[in-house]
Symmetry: D2
Subunit: 491 residues, 4 copies
Amino acid sequence: MLTTHPFDDDKLKEECGVFGVYNVDDAAAMTALGLHALQHRGQEAAGITSFDGNEFHTHRALGHVAGNFDQEEVIGRLKGRMAAGHVRYSTSGGTSLRNVQPLYADLSVGGFAVAHNGNISNAEKLRKELVRRGSIFQSTSDTEVIIHLVATSGFRTLLDRLIDALKQVEGAYSLICMTNEGMIVCRDPLGIRPLVMGKLDDGNYIFASETVALDIVGAEYIRSVEPGEMIVASHNGLTSHHPFPKQPSRPCIFEHVYFSRPDSIVNGSSVYSVRKAIGAVLAEEIPVEADYVIPVPDSGTPAALGYAEAANIPFELGIIRSHYVGRTFIQPGDGVRHLGVKLKHNANKPLVEGKRIILVDDSIVRGTTSLKIVQMMREAGAAEVHMRIASPPTSHSCFYGVDTPEREKLLASRFTVEEMCDFIQADSLGFISIDGLYRATGEKERNQAQPQHCDACFTGCYPTTLTDLDEVEQPNQLKLLNEQVVRSERT
Amino acid sequence: MLTTHPFDDDKLKEECGVFGVYNVDDAAAMTALGLHALQHRGQEAAGITSFDGNEFHTHRALGHVAGNFDQEEVIGRLKGRMAAGHVRYSTSGGTSLRNVQPLYADLSVGGFAVAHNGNISNAEKLRKELVRRGSIFQSTSDTEVIIHLVATSGFRTLLDRLIDALKQVEGAYSLICMTNEGMIVCRDPLGIRPLVMGKLDDGNYIFASETVALDIVGAEYIRSVEPGEMIVASHNGLTSHHPFPKQPSRPCIFEHVYFSRPDSIVNGSSVYSVRKAIGAVLAEEIPVEADYVIPVPDSGTPAALGYAEAANIPFELGIIRSHYVGRTFIQPGDGVRHLGVKLKHNANKPLVEGKRIILVDDSIVRGTTSLKIVQMMREAGAAEVHMRIASPPTSHSCFYGVDTPEREKLLASRFTVEEMCDFIQADSLGFISIDGLYRATGEKERNQAQPQHCDACFTGCYPTTLTDLDEVEQPNQLKLLNEQVVRSERT
Amino acid sequence: MLTTHPFDDDKLKEECGVFGVYNVDDAAAMTALGLHALQHRGQEAAGITSFDGNEFHTHRALGHVAGNFDQEEVIGRLKGRMAAGHVRYSTSGGTSLRNVQPLYADLSVGGFAVAHNGNISNAEKLRKELVRRGSIFQSTSDTEVIIHLVATSGFRTLLDRLIDALKQVEGAYSLICMTNEGMIVCRDPLGIRPLVMGKLDDGNYIFASETVALDIVGAEYIRSVEPGEMIVASHNGLTSHHPFPKQPSRPCIFEHVYFSRPDSIVNGSSVYSVRKAIGAVLAEEIPVEADYVIPVPDSGTPAALGYAEAANIPFELGIIRSHYVGRTFIQPGDGVRHLGVKLKHNANKPLVEGKRIILVDDSIVRGTTSLKIVQMMREAGAAEVHMRIASPPTSHSCFYGVDTPEREKLLASRFTVEEMCDFIQADSLGFISIDGLYRATGEKERNQAQPQHCDACFTGCYPTTLTDLDEVEQPNQLKLLNEQVVRSERT
Amino acid sequence: MLTTHPFDDDKLKEECGVFGVYNVDDAAAMTALGLHALQHRGQEAAGITSFDGNEFHTHRALGHVAGNFDQEEVIGRLKGRMAAGHVRYSTSGGTSLRNVQPLYADLSVGGFAVAHNGNISNAEKLRKELVRRGSIFQSTSDTEVIIHLVATSGFRTLLDRLIDALKQVEGAYSLICMTNEGMIVCRDPLGIRPLVMGKLDDGNYIFASETVALDIVGAEYIRSVEPGEMIVASHNGLTSHHPFPKQPSRPCIFEHVYFSRPDSIVNGSSVYSVRKAIGAVLAEEIPVEADYVIPVPDSGTPAALGYAEAANIPFELGIIRSHYVGRTFIQPGDGVRHLGVKLKHNANKPLVEGKRIILVDDSIVRGTTSLKIVQMMREAGAAEVHMRIASPPTSHSCFYGVDTPEREKLLASRFTVEEMCDFIQADSLGFISIDGLYRATGEKERNQAQPQHCDACFTGCYPTTLTDLDEVEQPNQLKLLNEQVVRSERT
């Protein structure tokens, strides 16, 4: 397969991005552009469903938006002035086309399409009950549960059926649905996954996971869809509903660290400026003397700039990423595997030779990539290699729509910071503290009693029950939370 | 086709990269890695030929190295301990597989394969004469002329035949040839295109267009192949020949500005440090007051860093490039074309709003991209937009293996700097001077009588005759050469 | 698409063939062979589902069995000792993979797969009711109705649920179903479509639409599945059920005329010998003096042989079919369309020149092909062209799993035999009488009160109600039934 | 690959068919039709070259004409009123596109395209000499030798150069060449391979391997191109040349037995009627008592009809060929291989059970298929199985464009007729005698001193020298030639 993985394998992966437009010419073409801007949120498959006033049209494809949804003949078939799209990073269950969204069903009340970013944490339980009552599932996707709940709901209108369905659902969801009467978008009560709203002109509406998808189509950003809000766009205009009991929101903090694009505005703040602020906090919390601050490209770059400015150390490009390469190179031949091959990154050897360097990266997942990068810098002649990480140690799995390895594969779930430093062979290793991270996002500190974000991947503090989890993982005592400085020196 | 074009369309394009290994295990797998590191030099096609002691094996493919040459079954068929490869950006003549190199022929003295970076400027004339004598050409490639000259040469050995052939040839060539006795590499007498030499261990040899291709296979850089040098690697070891009359070399100066990767060493100096030096010279030559220095990613980044440091203005990421996207998105639907769509770049709006910014880019070719970028920054709210260019105005076509538009399409061939500034709608526009560029590469200044580089694209001063050119273009008086400051302010 | 249509477009088309094996090694490979032998019953798509004791495995593909199901990797994934397969000629609704059978669903009682030959004539009505109750359909196939009826049935066991479902269903079905307990096969109470049973050894069972599928795997023919019989093959061996009220059977008479392969045994008699008998009856009923009897290849060949023998006129190959050609040639270029191009048939000109010939074909549907063939024989110089048809005039549509054009496109629904003769420009045209056809199948004559076969396509006498048919077509008075000789001479 | 092999693997295979049109609209579309009618002469690849008055256009493809050359976009690119095409059965050397014809070269005198049916028996020797003088070959095809001989010829006009080239060539060739002045067709002096000429109207010309290709485009058959004749079609009309010394012709006799389509006229006589005559001679030469005469379909059918008529034994379809199947089924799974699987043929069991049958086939090559067919008939219950072959024993390889196995694999080169009968397990086996075969073609008998045909595959009597054959195979004493009756009874 030709699917591109510009991410390192050793990163967490957002599972989805959604985009919808209501009442515009070329709705499908615009949706394709929006999905293209959200490509980083899901690279294995994409789909668009449009509605032309009479019929729904769907095209789904494995692979990228470009190459699939930029062909006239595909876009031409997706007629109509309303469309919704989805990019997907498939987790277990495989990359079957059946799981590619938007999902669609012919219900007795008419067609119903849904695109979902997030993960339903009681999907298995609901599915079993639905099957028992005679529902037949087409996919292994958790999202299909929503459609069957809507199909079998006793309520009359699609809106009431959808509310009825979502009240039974637990977990994270930012949804864009289409019916033959209009578009219904909804964000779960905790607002775990993002969803924003914009417009091109009066009378049309655009919904997207991130503001960059508004930028690409030249739309104006209006506001975030609120946690727990359900918005209906129809020929009557826009109506907002709040069908769920009110509760404090918990948006995912990792969107700021890594998932969202730096040019997006998430939960009201610039991702780029938060990342620079993280770098500055990191420089304060865990300083070290060095010649250069060097970003691990590309996601570490804003934090490295913030670090360099705060620490007053020159920012230099010491690692060159192979931007020219669109496809993953699968290393052939056992014979060349032993070579310390650098397929995506190369050290800027003339620069780093003999220098003390600080590498800034966004996170450490398994630690394998960090180890290779440290080794690469040493081979290039660096005198000292200090690693600084723009997030706290990632120690817990996510169950809200992010692909994390099993917990035991997370380096931070097995090792102390000191042991992690040894593992990656750095001269020193430091993570930003959890309070430091909250400070960088504009909070005073983490509210321990009622955290302002979902930070379960760092703290194990999950904001919902996790019904489907066979053995409910007991959230660990947050071992790192009160450490003054999350840091280790290698001796 | 799914071919990726990470380059802007509005850049000059290197036409080729070459790579060869002699006497190693997994020669073809290693060549694939080397070509992958040279992918930026040619993205439309790639080929590898190997020799297993008895037979030559060739595989050619349209598209990238990754996806074609990282498959076990392909590499498995390319048996042997000697291999040469080529990446190609095809110019006119189309992307027919017939033109993809290495070219190969069964000669009476045995098999002969050749991979060529450069362009032969009397190929048409030679071709006509060869056809007249009964040669049948398989391709439209200028390189095939060399093979037919070798095939019909009266000399006995392949080495003598190759020298005989090259003496009839005019233009630029860095060649890697294979015979059943070993590898012959050669650089034209002026050394226009680069070619370096390295090794893994004693007894094996690696040749490549750039040092990054040595890095990726873990090889040690030995030296550049000298202009006019012919090196033979065989079971007798390495022998060096200088079959051509000695003359001062003229390596392409644009390799430093744009073509080569920043982590390569070209003609003995770090590309990254030359680019930073260009930025510093530019800041001296054409200063301006501003809030931020912003690189046009990615090729403008090192010069922007140099500029920011020298000018003591903060370096910020004001343009976010869609790194996550491997494939070119072909914009569908006329309806969305009028939107100011930014498929590859997006302004970091929260950052630039209300700010005076200096954009640093490597070159201006047609000017269309510069215009779009300036407009994008203004739409994002920039108060002033100053453009600084890390090369002199590109006013002439290249005939030595670089794809340049026809001269009349080059913005600098039609306009003064002031007019160019108007065209791109910048508040000011400045180019580095030709002497400034030479200074950044370590020279004191340009030697007018005998320039140290080929800089024809800036000066029209071509170092060879151009036989095939129908009407020999009279090199213009170098209009910009003596201007003290190449700059214009918009009023 | 490369799908082959060896049939003339102007033939009725059987819509499906089914095949199932229970308790054999290589169940899927054997099923692939069986489907290959049934390829003439459906050429647009094929599918196989296997069960390995734990899991069901399915592969579906557009196109032929060969090329899709003869690949080791496909067959290798279809593990298990039980498998069922289906070949499909898709009617309106398109050749979407979603409609390709076997259909499969995960029910609360376990997996359930079904392959269906036939057509359910109240499928639309049932579907609407199921959707109203919350069922979501995956396909546009009538067969899916059966699965949802099973899924939502109140009965406990799959067998009881299937009986419950089939009691609500009207029309024609030969079904092969799989559950995790075994195989359930069933034929509708009228036995409209065929289904036979065989075995390789004791303890295994094979079910197929025709005996040729038993032949290809070397199996022994046991007997036909009886109309209304439901057979369960499980680890308890074979059990036979008769869940429906007993009624006289009405197997499709057209299987003898055209659908089934001549080497099959259908309803206990050899298709080849019935076709020869048809030819003999035809020669008696509508004799004519001529030099040669010439089959319209290939389906007319056995009847032509029977005719020639009975009439004592030489049988000759006057039309050569392009057997060497596997793919349909799509005629390119308007410019060549006016040529009387013969892509599939060519006249054997040296043979027929100046001769009086009798052409024998199986049926006339739209008449367009007959016209072309008559013209082709005249252009080749035939002195007289007499057409004899091995079935009565096809005047009504089939609603039991055969693709017939809309009634108004059937030549015999608009024209008398005399007019048809004029239309095809033959010197004479004759059809076998309906009683003659029954005689050739071994009956004494058609039992008017209670016909022994379904012959609705000739008589309009449909054996079931046709609920979905919007306006119930009033079966015409059978205009041809009592005509002594169905024949016309052109004057 | 999906290539269809409707031939049994155990048949000799014609290697090529050629077709050319001069001065018609839609020349390429017409050529595609012509090649489609010649598909039986080469199924692995096809190509068409057209000339539009200025440029030559070529498209080549692996696979069938249908599916490749029936697409508007392909035909649309092949502009012009002159075109030539080629179908190819590739022998060793693989199915590389490079070997697919027409071959084309830009010569100093203009473009030159050639399509060749036949084989040059001194190609290797000529090739070596050409390479020695500097020619570079693109393919491994023997045909390319002709092009290089033309390219390097000292003569001025293309016609003279072609004559010069062909005078150096030995073997079989029917050529259709195109230059920018017109079409040149030529048949070797012995006329080994066929070539006919026709027209649509005055002023245009059509050339083809067989008359069926004239039929398909509605053209009128004029005559065969004569052995040794060279015909030039240009704006001056048609001119005929005889550049070679006159000698008695030796057209291939196997064209009558198997290669040509039965509806073709070859060397002036109907293939169908010759085959029927062969059957009649066979019935006289080797009679046997039996119930039925059964053709081995399809190539044995005309001879079987002739046999049945002459012997007055009923002709019946005892073997049903799976005409409905366009693609070869590759038997998957070792487990099912032991089954006596019949993928292409099935016995008509109800017919043959208990009967004494005579099978009539066209030839025996390796004997493996004959063995399987005899076994299949016995398993179906045949009481006696007598095999009659419509050609003498095939005991020698062909070097004139027919793919024959190496001599030792030909059953008749190793065994007597009696041993062959044992090998295929028939009750009796009989071949037509060589004189009988000549009689069926209309000769009185074989002229031993100067045979009227090339019959080397039966007699080893090759009509040309075979320069490239490493060790010149000494033509055996024709062991069968004088046997009165070529027959064996199994006891």
